[in-house]
Homo-oligomer: 195 residues x 2
């Protein structure tokens, strides 16, 4: 099949749907963000990119803290609502049940299966978005999201963001274990390097 060159855009698949929390004037505010990724494993450090026009920037800069909350599919309407209205116009502090962790100023959402409490360590300004690089200082969840001692993605039921369609999807079928199923590839054409 012939390759087709597209307009360059942010075509990463899949992307997460997160709710980034920040306190502004002492009140919790949440914004839907898909531009989010882990940048370091130990300690865990996460990057969250936010368009410079958003109200949320004020709170992150002011407190040097923020949260990344993972909503489940049954929270999709409220989640999307947090991307439709600005905290500058609407007080979103009562959309969810809020709680705080050890940093004291990063509001988190009780209803979300997973909450990452982050301390800002670096800021990168790009053309339209600012990347907030935060160390994850605490992670909160509940017992009911585990199966056999591990967080179970089907129980968390996170929301996938499909960027070009501007749509939300759920997680589907299990494929297999990482660092495992690849052993089945015989790699006939793969050459062991001589040392």
């Amino acid at each position: 099949m012939k390759k087709l060159e597209l307009d360059v855009r942010s075509f990463l698949y899949p992307m997460p749907t997160t709710l980034v929390g920040a306190n502004i004037d002492g009140k919790p505010n949440y914004l839907v963000i898909a531009f989010c990724g882990i940048v370091n494993a130990h300690p865990p450090i996460i990057s969250v990119s936010i368009n410079q026009s958003h109200y949320t920037n004020i709170g992150i800069i002011e407190n040097k803290t923020f949260s990344v909350n993972i909503p489940s599919a049954d929270m999709a309407i409220k989640t999307d609502y947090c991307g439709l209205v600005s905290g500058g116009e609407v007080d979103k502090s009562a959309v969810f049940t809020n709680f705080y962790g050890k940093l004291g100023t990063a509001p988190m959402i009780q209803e979300c299966p997973l909450n990452l409490e982050c301390r800002l360590i670096q800021t990168l300004e790009f053309d339209v978005d600012t990347a907030y690089i935060g160390e994850v200082v605490s992670v909160y969840t509940e017992e009911r999201y585990f199966t056999d001692g591990r967080l179970d993605i089907k129980k968390i039921d996170p929301i996938v963001f499909a960027t070009h369609e501007r749509a939300y999807y759920r997680i589907g079928d299990y494929i297999g274990q990482a660092w495992n199923i690849g052993a089945a590839f015989e790699g006939k054409d793969v050459i062991k390097k001589k040392r």
Copy 2:
């Protein structure tokens, strides 16, 4: 339900499963990476974090180019294979059909539904991973991945990485449109701010 505090780890859900391509000694090499996210919308800029022990680092630093390839679920075995063996020990250049774009040194995978060709613009060194910040200069795909003029995530069929389970999943059911379904939230408790 009571919240439980976990060991801090990189608990972002969902994460993408990508194949990061780099030329080393003029030969294509691919590594599976989940630590990947968009950091700026226009121009599209992507961050890819790679453990400092990996062979791939050599090629990105040498050429100042790399690619992010999105494999589909039917490529899961070969994809996982690229995380099981190091390019320092095994020549992975024949695992997939390679092609090059305008940068000339960022190898891409013909079989992947989507290929992002990237020019390195910044490098951030963290404790164990290095974040390579790249501008996406070209995006390649095929006609068959579109529905009604938009890339269709179900046709791309990307692989979700479930970090705590160390497992791969497919995309599931459609939930709804972003910047749309949230309008159904009545927000009884939400207060319009006085101006």
